[in-house]
């Protein structure tokens, strides 16, 4: 009577993606509409003036998905761990499943972000506006799709991972302890920013720490370390955690 | 259907015995399976099985493998013999004790019995 079934981590991943499918879709829809809307309004009214002129608006877009994915990450453990354990899944497999989901969500979001660039360029060229990037990135022009994808994937992964650590902290510890741990949990995301120097935040951190933008091999090894650390720390926090009825 | 007076399996056994004595269950007739019993009375099947085991041990029921439990041929006689044995102690002696308690003289009891005997003879 026992049917052969998928590996438990895959079951977890599948269910989580099914649960969050509308959340993700709605977010991206709203996000695109807002950015496109803002862009057009600014263009049409010419209100912003010289500063916006010639700038890529989509470039600034990267901030929002990072925060959004972090929020989704925060919700992961408190919202879902209990229901999986209650359905006969080990905490270990829950962690494996979430890692998979983080990777997939990061990939999908990166693809969407990357695709935005050529579209923006097409619109700009159509109207004869010049296009330039404001912040330093891994990529110099908006044509380097590979680099755009890699950079955004690494950042999204790190932010999602940081959020997940925060959420697990709140599930495992008393909320006062968890708040303090949250600050530490942000380190992976911030480290990625520094290394990739991708945004105003990265710039801020770079100036604060007087660091130089790191070369690609370092960025990649750091991201592997961040991923492994995220999984390991979550495992340490959750491996013996008691499943209770309350959320926090 | 069951109370706390005695263990449930005992009550099940007693009920089947009563049915055999009164003729509701005839010899070689099949009784409900333990599962049917359990389902009907909402009790654990093991309890029903225990009651059946009691009856099997006493020779009231026998089992046909793969089919079910049946009333044995000697069941009714065995039960009647048992009840006859206990009749004087359980029924008659008790009646006499009650009569003494409430002050009914034995002569009146004998008189009544003879009346009944008279009717029977007629």
């Amino acid at each position: 009577m026992t049917r052969s079934r998928k590996h438990p981590a895959l079951i977890v991943a599948g269910n989580l993606m099914y649960t969050y499918r509308w959340v993700l879709a709605t977010y991206w829809l709203v996000f695109i509409v807002i950015y496109v809307g803002i862009g057009f309004i600014l263009r049409m009214n010419g209100t912003a003036g010289g500063d916006i002129d010639g700038q890529s608006i989509w470039e600034g877009a990267g901030s929002s998905p990072k925060i959004f994915l972090m929020v989704v990450g925060i919700m992961m453990t408190p919202l879902s761990l209990a229901s999986f354990v209650a359905n006969g899944i080990t905490r270990r497999h829950f962690i494996g499943g979430v890692m998979l989901v983080i990777a997939i969500f990061a990939i999908v979001s990166s693809i969407l972000l990357t695709v935005g660039y050529p579209i923006e360029r097409a619109v700009y060229e159509m109207n004869g506006w010049p296009l330039a990037l404001k912040n330093p990135h891994l990529f110099e022009t908006t044509r380097q799709y590979g680099w755009i994808f890699v950079e955004s994937f690494l950042l999204f992964f790190a932010y999602f991972g940081s959020g997940w650590l925060i959420g697990s902290g709140f599930y495992r510890f008393h909320w006062r302890v968890a708040i303090v741990l949250s600050a530490l949990a942000l380190l992976p995301a911030m480290a990625m920013e520094v290394v990739l120097y991708s945004d105003w935040m990265g710039q801020l951190l770079q100036t604060a720490f007087e660091a130089d933008r790191a070369p690609m091999p370092l960025a990649l090894s750091l991201s592997v370390i961040v991923a492994a650390l995220t999984a390991a720390l979550n495992y340490l926090m959750l491996r013996h955690v008691a499943i209770k009825k309350k959320l926090i | 259907m069951f109370d706390d007076r005695s263990p449930i399996y005992q009550q099940i056994a007693d009920q089947i015995k009563e049915d055999v004595v009164s003729g509701v269950l005839r010899e070689d007739e099949q009784v409900m399976s333990t599962n049917q019993y359990a389902s009907f009375y909402r009790i654990n099947p093991a309890t029903a099985a225990k009651g059946f085991q009691l009856l099997t041990d006493e020779g009231i029921l026998y089992k046909k493998r793969g089919i079910g439990m049946f009333v044995s041929a000697e069941a009714r006689q065995t039960l009647l013999a048992q009840r006859r044995e206990r009749f004087f102690e359980e029924v008659v002696d008790r009646m006499l004790a009650e009569a003494a308690k409430i002050g009914v003289p034995i002569e009146e009891i004998i008189g009544r019995i003879e009346q009944a005997k008279g009717r029977e003879d007629v």
Binding site: T2, Y18, S83, G88, I89, I243 | A38
Partner: protein
Amino acid sequence: MTLGIEVNGLRLDYGKFAALRDVSFKLQGGKIYGLLGRNGSGKTSLLSILASFRKHTGGSVAIGGEAPFENARIVEQVCFIQESGHMTDGVKVRDALKLAASCWPNWDDDYADKLIRLFNLPVKKRVMALSRGMKSALGVTLGLASRAPVTIFDEAYLGMDAPSRYAFYEELLNDYMENPRTFILSTHLIEEVGSLFEEVLVLDEGKLLFHEETEALRSRGAAITGPAEAVDRIAEGLTVLGEQKLGRTKSVTVFGALTEEKRKAAQSEGLEFGPVSLQDLFVHLTKKRGDKQ
């Protein structure tokens, strides 16, 4: 396919508070077991440990011969239902069923559909929006349809109205007879459910008081009623659980085997013997000093 459960010297501490102390028992498996105990006796703690919701502090647990905590092979065979379970906020009944269906190796979709119809579960509604009775109905549906070799219901049917509860008992029995598994039900409604249990375990203040066949436990209690002096004479040397007096008549609840001679002696003195229901026995055995007599 039955899994045995063996617990030895089990301990669970919440900081300084010992919720379970030195609990040991062995369950053969494949039976319907009852877990009785007052609020705070440690029932939920014990069941949480069996289901790997919590880790024990001391002693050992083995299900199917293996330690269950974080053991994928074992936990996928143990289903623990507390009311409606631990659902993610905002999920619909349909989604909760879908999740369970994908997780339990022995899940039976057809049986689940049958139970949904039986309890009239509104599949499109959010779990949070269900009435307490409906949440309980969802819980028992999940537990029964999981066909997990060890299925535990922690007072999961308390919120249901009487007709639904009886429907549940019926379903439980019928499925148990067709597809035997280990069922453990913790309950307060002892009289209602008592006849379903083959064996009962009684917990009190974290300790295991009894583990016996239901009938054996039930028959150990007796109520002796009659003139006070006679009752006292007979009750000499027996474990007295409680007594009640009305005028010159006294009723005493005793626990333990009554010898034939004691029984005959009592009857000759005109004392009445009565049975004690499992519920009353339980109340007496777990009486605390602060309780009303």
